[in-house]
Symmetry: C2
Subunit: 195 residues, 2 copies
């Protein structure tokens, strides 16, 4: 007689699960950035979510732990941003809520665009030790109308104060290209709740 829902479930899209076994075991940071930009573009072109992707890596070895893309609309889950998806997949694969916990090597999160305010919080709680963003800055909101939420100005400082290294906008032009291609495709800008 369970009227009320009991379980949340968010899955990667089929094109991506088919791709997983052909991904390399380990990636350099630059390769991970390339991968997020490729997956971000493919995700909206395949109509399986917004133009965002994220990967979790072991920092020292580059071992690929998880890949995530935005799944908010197709999975009916506004929290299923690429970052939350990748971090949750990594944590459940490793069996821990804390990727920085005892017994684990340090982990990095690589993202195609800087985190919104929700994902900014999510990555603090995740235990990652490095954030790498391909793109960052006002272009996303300007080009697409997405709202990134009300964030403190010095969000990078707040991460660094919590022991998280930040490498911001390391592939800005290419990241903006993905965002622009999304915008020009005329696809849905979901979650654009503005004042």
């Amino acid at each position: 007689m369970a009227r009320l829902p009991e379980r949340v479930s968010v899955a990667l899209p089929e094109w991506l699960t088919e791709r997983l076994s052909s991904l390399p075991d380990a990636l350099t940071e630059a390769q991970a950035v390339d991968l997020t930009l490729e997956l971000a573009r493919q995700n909206f072109e395949q109509d399986t979510g917004g133009p965002f992707a994220a990967v979790v890596l072991e920092k020292a070895s580059g071992r690929l732990v998880s890949v995530g893309v935005n799944r908010a609309v197709p999975e009916s889950c506004s929290s299923a941003h690429a970052e939350v998806t990748a971090l949750s997949l990594a944590q459940q694969a490793l069996g821990s809520f804390d990727l920085g916990g005892k017994g684990f090597p340090e982990h990095a999160l690589v993202v195609s665009w800087r985190p919104c305010v929700m994902c900014f919080g999510a990555l603090i709680w995740s235990g990652i030790r490095t954030l790498v963003t391909a793109g960052s800055g006002p272009e996303l909101e300007r080009l697409t109308g997405f709202d990134e939420g009300a964030m403190i100005d010095d969000w990078q400082g707040a991460l660094r104060a919590r022991g998280i290294e930040v490498k911001d906008a390391v592939a800005l032009d290419r990241a903006i290209d993905v965002v622009r291609a999304f915008s020009e495709s005329g696809r849905l800008v979901y979650n654009a709740r503005r004042g």
Copy 2:
């Protein structure tokens, strides 16, 4: 050959799923506040997560849409805060990423304690139209050592600017009692990543 994880899954604890069918179909706002405080306390006492709970209601009718509790540690998912869990359950039950979308009545989120910075973002993207917090303020961080993240000072104003009504700290003393009981129980304060 899927080496990499493909699906995230977060479930309510068994004591709560057993309870669901005996919950009323509709609640007043005050009853919803009482329920979040009761579930928040039970969640840590049962060792099924942190001392936080949230419910989603239809604003006008009070119809109960979902209940959530913090599931971060037991589900190996640091994003599985009570708010994200309740909002995601509601969205997947209704089949939409946007609880404020066309064809839906307005929804409210009622929480046992004010949202952390991640959940602040999550509730913006969720489409809810009202936030009610039982407790709010510095006591959580002071009593427990939980970090709520780096949030803008006027977080309530940022919500109101996005069309979300805020009723803050409507049952502060009782909410603090829950937080204090958690603190005195000596249970794990997870996610306390501080500078």
